[in-house]
Amino acid sequence: MILFIQQVVSGLSIGAVYSLLAVGYALVYSVYNFTNWAFDAFMVAGAFAGFYAIASFFIPPVPAIALALLAAVILSVGVERIAYRPLRLRNAPRLFMMISAMGANLCIINLANLFFGGQFRKFPEIASGTIFLGGVAVGKMDLFAAGFSAVALAILWFFLYRTRAGLGIRASAIDTLTASIMGINNDAVAFMVFAISGVLSGSAGVFYGIKYAVYPYLGIVTLKAMIASIIGGLGSLPGAVLGSLLLGVTETLVSGYISSVYRDLFSFSILVLILLFFPNGLLGSKDSEKL
């Protein structure tokens, strides 16, 4: 039984980091109807900025993490300006924006590889150590990451549902064109959406860097977050969180009780099965009721 609980706890901690990324995907998708494939790069930017801030400039952890998030936000907003906005203004098909995102991603990851080198870097320890609850080990960093994810998502929810700016984003999510006719500044919405995505992916990058290692290809995990956000329902924020936790736990249980060789097989099979029965994902809804 302890083994089972341990596996579920490990799975939830993996899912918590997926959820940061998955919510970012959901947010961009809900407003712009395209998948922001460049998340990978923002994550890497966050991880590297945090790493160098602490390891090379000896900045204390909290301002270092803030710097890391800032770096990811700048990159995210920059990519929006350079790679998406020109396409958006010319009414390019959404598919082209996705391709543009992939290009931006490949470009940034390869630049990171070129400038920083591909080797693994150990993130300076911020919250090391483990708490044992009745034989179940919970890493302090995992708890912190899960707590951070929960708080970040709560703030995001508040922002979207209780502020005027959030209302603007939600209006754009329903219909960008009508929203702009009604006086909502599309560019401001884009700035906010991509800044938020930057914060989410940058923090996921920092947590990933701390938990595993900092290297240019750490963003490979964004594919999992993408699956999680589809399972939950693309465009639905609660769905993204649910999908992430579900995926994290499924992966650990499959690895633990069946075989890790079949882990991805199960992840993708679940995706297909869920889409067969819930074409919009678990909590996804029609276009008119997104976010």
Binding site: L3, Q6, Q7, S10, I14, N113, G117, G118, Q119, F120, K122, T130, F132, A137, G139, Y212, A213, Y215, P216, Y217, L218, I220, V221, E251, T252, L253, S255, G256, S259, S260, V261, D264
Partner: protein, 397 residues
């Protein structure tokens, strides 16, 4: 309108010229022996290829300064395999078909070396794998040797045997658990050879957990190992990051266990990433930078390049020494041989196959003609202690 097309035309001509010139540059000048090097130059595994390339370049510059091999200069052509099998195979094909190299050094891992072996046979180009230790690299499924494939490292059956022997007899361990990269021929091979010898001695393998290349999350497997009651955790991985992550995550889950590893662990980055968690762990290696005979070389290398010499550099040098010997032997027979010709490559292969006690970088090399493995390569058992590699024992076959 005309200018629009004219502009396009200019671009096209420029592109054509560029591709033609690159094609032409592939043509060999007859007094140069071209040697290909397929290495992991970029990405997380670049630590394997970087130092090796520098070591080869140093050595080649040294030979060329002294007038080359019997008057023939050496040229090194390095291609990045990006640690991907398709890229490594493409690099091998390009070296053989386009650059017309006389021989190839690399790749470093069995997964890429196995498919390259058949291409080497077809194009009749000798390939010397550096650290690809799976038995199938030089012999096919029926046990027939690949005529043009060689290696300079030990083979996994012996590595598996040595660590199993060490675990049972020296460490007194009886219950072993595995966390194995099931997508790597190397890892699975060692697991099987270990199990064979360990169980024959009376030990038991109580858990066999798998994962796939590039996985980062091992807590599910570690929890199972903890549950199995094993007193030894063997991690036969070809890359240090896997064992670093496993050790860190096991530490976070509170698992204290004796670790046992393989030559794939060897990278100084491992010590900085998880030296603390792996303190006391044992592993096997073919050579080690800690050996006193390499002290001067290491110091000079670090001074010149600002990075440390690695065992991957040593193995690459061993392969280069073997090619130097073979080329010299071929040129003795035929002083005006054309290094780009098939006849030259076949003679080179014959010379490599029959080499005996040839002085190489790490030790004297004798090739076994029926397996193309180096004869009697020892296995060194190392221990990670206080953030350093310590030599514990040497197994001679």
């Amino acid at each position: 309108m005309f200018f629009k097309y004219f502009k396009k035309g200019v671009w096209l001509v420029a592109l054509l010229a560029l591709s033609l010139s690159s094609l032409l540059s592939g043509c060999a000048s007859s007094k140069t022996i071209k040697i290909g090097f397929i290495a992991q130059m970029t990405g997380p595994d670049s630590y394997i290829g970087q130092a090796a390339k520098l070591a080869l370049e140093d050595r080649i510059a040294e030979i060329n300064e002294k007038g080359g091999i019997k008057g023939y200069k050496i040229e090194l052509i390095t291609y990045d395999s990006r640690s991907e099998v398709p890229d490594a195979v493409a690099a091998a094909k390009r070296l053989m078909d386009q650059d017309h190299v006389s021989a190839i050094i690399g790749p470093e891992w069995s997964g890429a070396a196995i498919p390259i072996a058949s291409i080497a046979d077809t194009s009749k180009t000798p390939v010397i794998a550096t650290t690809a230790s799976n038995i199938k690299v030089t012999v096919d499924d029926n046990g027939n040797v690949h005529p043009f494939m060689f290696r300079v490292c030990f083979i996994d059956p012996y590595q598996g045997f040595a660590i199993a022997d060490f675990a049972y007899k020296e460490l007194g361990k009886r219950k072993a658990a595995f966390i194995t990269d099931v997508s790597a021929a190397y890892s699975v091979g060692i697991q099987n050879y270990f199990e064979e010898h360990f169980t024959s001695l009376g030990g038991e393998v109580v858990a066999k957990e798998g994962y796939q290349a590039n996985d980062q999350e091992f807590r599910a497997q570690i929890s199972k190992v903890a549950e199995s009651g094993a007193d030894l955790l063997v991690v036969p991985t070809a890359t240090y990051r896997d064992i670093a992550l496993i050790a860190k995550q096991a530490d976070a889950l509170g698992l204290k266990i004796q670790y046992l590893g393989v030559d794939g662990w060897v990278a100084d980055e491992l010590l900085s990433m998880a030296g603390k968690e792996l303190d006391g762990a044992y592993l096997s290696s073919g050579v080690t930078t800690e050996s006193p005979e390499f002290k001067d070389y290491n110091a000079a290398f670090e001074k010149k390049h600002g990075m440390k010499a690695t065992v991957y550099a040593y193995y690459a040098l061993d392969a280069l020494y073997a090619i130097e010997y073979a080329a010299s032997a071929v040129l003795d027979q035929n002083p005006s041989a054309d290094p780009g010709s098939e006849a030259f490559r076949v003679s080179l292969k014959n010379a490599l196959e029959t080499m005996k006690d040839v002085p190489a970088f790490t030790s004297k090399l004798t090739m076994e003609p029926d397996t193309h493995n180096p004869h009697n390569k020892p296995v060194v058992i190392l221990q990670i202690k206080d953030g350093q590699w310590k030599i514990v024992k040497t197994y001679e076959p």
